[in-house]
């Protein structure tokens, strides 16, 4: 169970370091209930005014819906594209699989600032700047590698014999994929869905390069807001975002179990 052989000073040290690790995320919660006009801690008064202010902030609300829709669409496309790709890469007979896998997960190796700039320049000449389509493609570039990684690992760990058994029982390749492979991949698919959605929803750097005056996502809107002034409004948004993330994590835990997904 616990690391019983750890000394007490060590336990205290680790506890303090954990506090350091989680401090900002924890602090955001009380600040969101601040009654003050400016950001201060501890606040002189408490109130729900900053949550109410959210409801009155059309920019934030529309940015939220954009992020939500974007996340949903990007997640759906990521799965539709990555599942076949993972199947080919993992089940393919030639040895190009490793190369293709590395090529398609390579975008994760690049810093988002470089990737964002690169995409900005190309999209400018293609007319994708400030468009919803451009945002979708920009997000897909980084969600696809994540989805591919999770799905390829899941597929690689499946018992091949089950697919072979289905084949000997008369199942044609497509039927086997639909009735046996996909259902067995379910935990991986759920994990990939959650991952893609959260990555897209939280994405800010690449999105900064691709948004325009009339199109913005929630993280980008928050960024501009913090850039100009730091008030507790951001805290209330942050709390809601944290709750959203927690909800997604809970759903993953309920359906497939966290230990299986994250502790690999």
């Amino acid at each position: 169970m616990e690391a019983d052989n750890t000394s007490v000073p060590m336990k205290i040290l680790v506890g303090l370091l954990f506090l350091f690790l989680l401090a900002p995320v924890i602090l955001v919660v009380p600040i969101s209930f601040s009654g003050e006009q400016i950001l201060s801690f501890p606040p002189e008064s408490w109130s729900l005014r900053w949550y109410a202010a959210l409801a009155d902030n059309p920019k934030m609300i529309s940015a939220f819906w954009t992020s939500l829709m974007l996340g949903a669409i990007v997640t759906f496309i990521s799965l539709a594209v990555a599942i076949p790709a993972a199947y080919v890469i993992v089940r393919m007979r030639t040895y190009g699989s490793t190369f293709l896998y590395n090529l398609f997960t390579a975008p994760l190796l690049l810093p988002t600032i470089v990737l964002g700039l690169a995409i900005l320049i190309v999209f400018a000449s293609m007319g994708f700047l400030g468009t919803f389509t451009g945002l979708i493609i920009g997000h897909l570039v980084i969600t696809l590698p994540y989805a591919l990684r999770v799905l390829a690992t899941t597929l690689g760990n499946l018992n091949l014999a089950c697919e072979e058994a289905a084949s000997t029982l008369g199942g044609r390749p497509l039927t086997v994929f639909r009735r046996v492979t996909l259902p067995m991949m379910a935990p991986g698919i759920v994990a990939a869905t959650a991952l893609c959605f959260l990555v897209s929803f939280d994405e800010v750097v690449i999105t900064l390069f691709l948004t325009g005056p009339r199109l913005t996502t929630l993280p980008v809107e928050l960024f501009h807001h913090v850039e100009s002034r730091a008030d507790p409004l951001v805290a209330s948004v942050s709390v809601l975002l944290i709750l959203l993330t927690l909800a997604v994590v809970m759903i993953v835990d309920r359906t497939v179990g966290l230990s299986k997904t994250f502790v690999k």
Binding site: E164, T168, G170, V180, M184
Partner: protein
Amino acid sequence: MIPAAAERPLENAMMHQTIRSGSPTLSDDRDVHLRLDGLTKRYGDSVAVAALDLAVPKGELVALLGPSGCGKTTTLRMVAGLITPTDGRIVVGGHDITVMPTYRRDMGLVFQSYALFPHMSVAKNVAFGLEMRSVPKPEIERRVKEALAMVRLEALAERKPRELSGGQQQRVALARALVIRPSILLLDEPLSNLDAKLRDEMRNEIRDIQQSLGITAVFVTHDQVEALSMCDKVVVMRGGKLEQVGTPVDVYEHPETPFVASFVGRTNRLEGVAEGDGRVTIGTMEVRVPGRPGGKVEIMVRPHRMRLVEAGAGEDAPTEGTNRLAGRLTRVTFIGDLLQYHVDVGGTEIVVEAASDHGRGFRKVGTPVAVLWRVEDTMVFGRSA
């Protein structure tokens, strides 16, 4: 052609559809259901299966027996269509199915790991093959019940595989393969993951079911007890090649090579020089063997065909037709049903087995003893080195 069975019109229709689209009939022996002609599988420079020829009559249970890496599983998977042969042909009921895809072959395969679909219930697992053949729902239900009853698992129809024990999963796998009434049943070491007691039970059950259905079956195993006890014919394989084909008694009593002799059953081995008249000199000793071999030979005798006596006892007066070697007792091992005597005979260790008898028969290590056996129980093989 394919023998018609009036009570199974649907399956025959399916089989006609699938196999008919193969190449034309190459028939000779009506009785042969499965034939392998020069079946070969090469991976780069290494050969997994080398020009295997085999003919399996209808309704027979054939064991592919051999150590790991001998090509038995590769052969089975080629018959199932999961591996494409490099060369040779696979003929079922007169039809060449060598290049036919797996899902059209009408064979049932029981995997070593059972390979049950984890997301489906036991009943749905068994129903899968029938669904693939577009069998109408009420009939599917009836036949699934039938199949589960055959393996005595009707009560667990709605459970998921992970809730079942190893033995139960194995029976579901068997039911799933048999419910489609395949022309050939293939089993890939189905008993290796079970514990000893369960293995004995399942061996008999599988054999009984196979015989009652009259279905041709090929059974892969590395366990000679399984091969000998269950099967009509044993095919001993080594290094991708066929060493010997025969009934269990044939293979056990008349092995054609030293490998078969030592793989199927325990043996003692001695090296000597044959004089050409039935005598063989082993160092300073001499024994008699059946026939009149000449040159360098290997002698093999099974431990339970030998008898151990005290060197100086009266019963050791030599009789015609009995071989006798003198030696020293080096160890006595008690394994419950047997007593194993390890004897040093001129530098070579011989093991003599005797049935245990209430703790009697323990002799002192170091005692001078004699090993006796009948001449006719001696197996002789030529030796190159």
